[in-house]
Symmetry: C2
Subunit: 314 residues, 2 copies
Amino acid sequence: MQYAIGIDIGGTNTKLGLVTQDGVIHKSTSFSTRAAHDFDSYAKLLCKEINSIIATSSGTCLGIGIGAPNANYHTGSIEFAPNMPFVSAPMVSELQKILHLEKIYLTNDANAAALGEKIYGGAKDISDFIMITLGTGLGSGIVCDNKLLYGSTGFAGELGHTVAVPEGRLCNCGKRGCLENYASATGIKRTFYEKLAEYNGKSSIAHIPFDKMTSKIIEDAARDGDILCKECFDYTGFILGRSFADFVEFSSPKAIFLFGGLAKSRELIFEPTKASMERHLLKVFRNKVEILPSLLPSSDAAVLGASALVWETL
Amino acid sequence: MQYAIGIDIGGTNTKLGLVTQDGVIHKSTSFSTRAAHDFDSYAKLLCKEINSIIATSSGTCLGIGIGAPNANYHTGSIEFAPNMPFVSAPMVSELQKILHLEKIYLTNDANAAALGEKIYGGAKDISDFIMITLGTGLGSGIVCDNKLLYGSTGFAGELGHTVAVPEGRLCNCGKRGCLENYASATGIKRTFYEKLAEYNGKSSIAHIPFDKMTSKIIEDAARDGDILCKECFDYTGFILGRSFADFVEFSSPKAIFLFGGLAKSRELIFEPTKASMERHLLKVFRNKVEILPSLLPSSDAAVLGASALVWETL
């Protein structure tokens, strides 16, 4: 049996999986990223887990793929990562040194998700597509002509920080109006309180304070007939679809895949997004782009996506 | 001598040039596109000119490259072209049939300009860049990893129709707020009259009517100290630079080249554009993208760019 190891490095947990080319995770393990206090100790912990997987498995490890926030494929380093026990880290070179293994690849988590969709998911036969991950923020991986777009810096595909509303909502990045402040779990929550102000509290969930609010609560209320909450989804889809039209005019993908919590709201988010995208597209692109739910299983998507880095090189 | 024939099909004139790989145009000719009344007669006229160039030249013709508005590289056809004696046309297949020549390539004019910059101009050593042509409208060609981006439809790179100002100025395409309504010769003219209204006519060129106004007149007035006209350039650059930041967050180019009339206004347009782009970029991209003037000679750029289609395939 030949296998790849996929690793998902998050601010809270690091997950590892032994993955075969058919996308089956035969073994998985995880540890707290916070158990390490600097990059040296983190790298040692991680290598111990990797060696343990390799030692207890029959077959050949073809390589290791790693997905992490702020990861640079070109340099193999994590750069300026927030919420990590290290700010920057030469991940690939350090692991190569400790493990005496050549084939180690690193990319950011949204790029890994895009590759996962390509190797194991709904994009197997699609050469041009965009993967959008709707979580706390909005991540993206762009595939053009069967290859991930990295650009000159290795950081291409930061669509969550394109300007959706000029001089709009303040973003963590310091800019205003970035797409992820509208189209994400956080974005729809901000939209809810904006509409609550506009309509003077006319919602069945007006009693829930900001720090307890989630996109799931807004979704449930919308399904129960709360008009204000339904409007939150319509507005989110309107902004997202308008930005999608811009993305289509840039790279002309065949499909845009949605992944993550907000994507699970199904037609509540897909319908207004599709309508707005079509409305904002040049005629030449209309009715040619599908907006599709990711086919990756949400709990394992990050590990699968990371492991896809290995299969992609074969 | 080996050469390529570059052809620039415009609404008014069709220009042809015999080009060697060093970018020298050894022979050129042109005829009125309007001399034809349908595609059949146009194709015959064009082939007569091509055959005449080939017959009177020593050396080997390696192929023909054609740049035209609304051209589709994938299909080799012009589709929905405005201002032409034909709406749609299977250009490549028809010319192949008449000329008995295999290597004929077609792309849109902005893509051709991007290739011209890559083969003969300032982008020789740059693998990721964007070409922006600022004429009556705004055209674009996007090069990623040394290849033109065509996308699934063949129409990728319509950056002039990304939304720069939501619900902004009405565009010919039917949308509102498209970038080319702000950043182009037409765009700066519209900005001038907007500012004229705002400042109640306080400009040295307030007496010039809309149909006589040009971006060159606005430039000359700005250089003569007209504050309102200077503000027109600042605003144009602000909008253009903000969109450039979005483009960088998409494909992370090393450089953005400006070509066309407005680009000749040099620092008047480059400085506010660069400042706005930097201000709107994520930290990870700052001070890494150059905005550069095209090095293609403006009168021959379209023919050169078209001929580059041939060299690119070798």
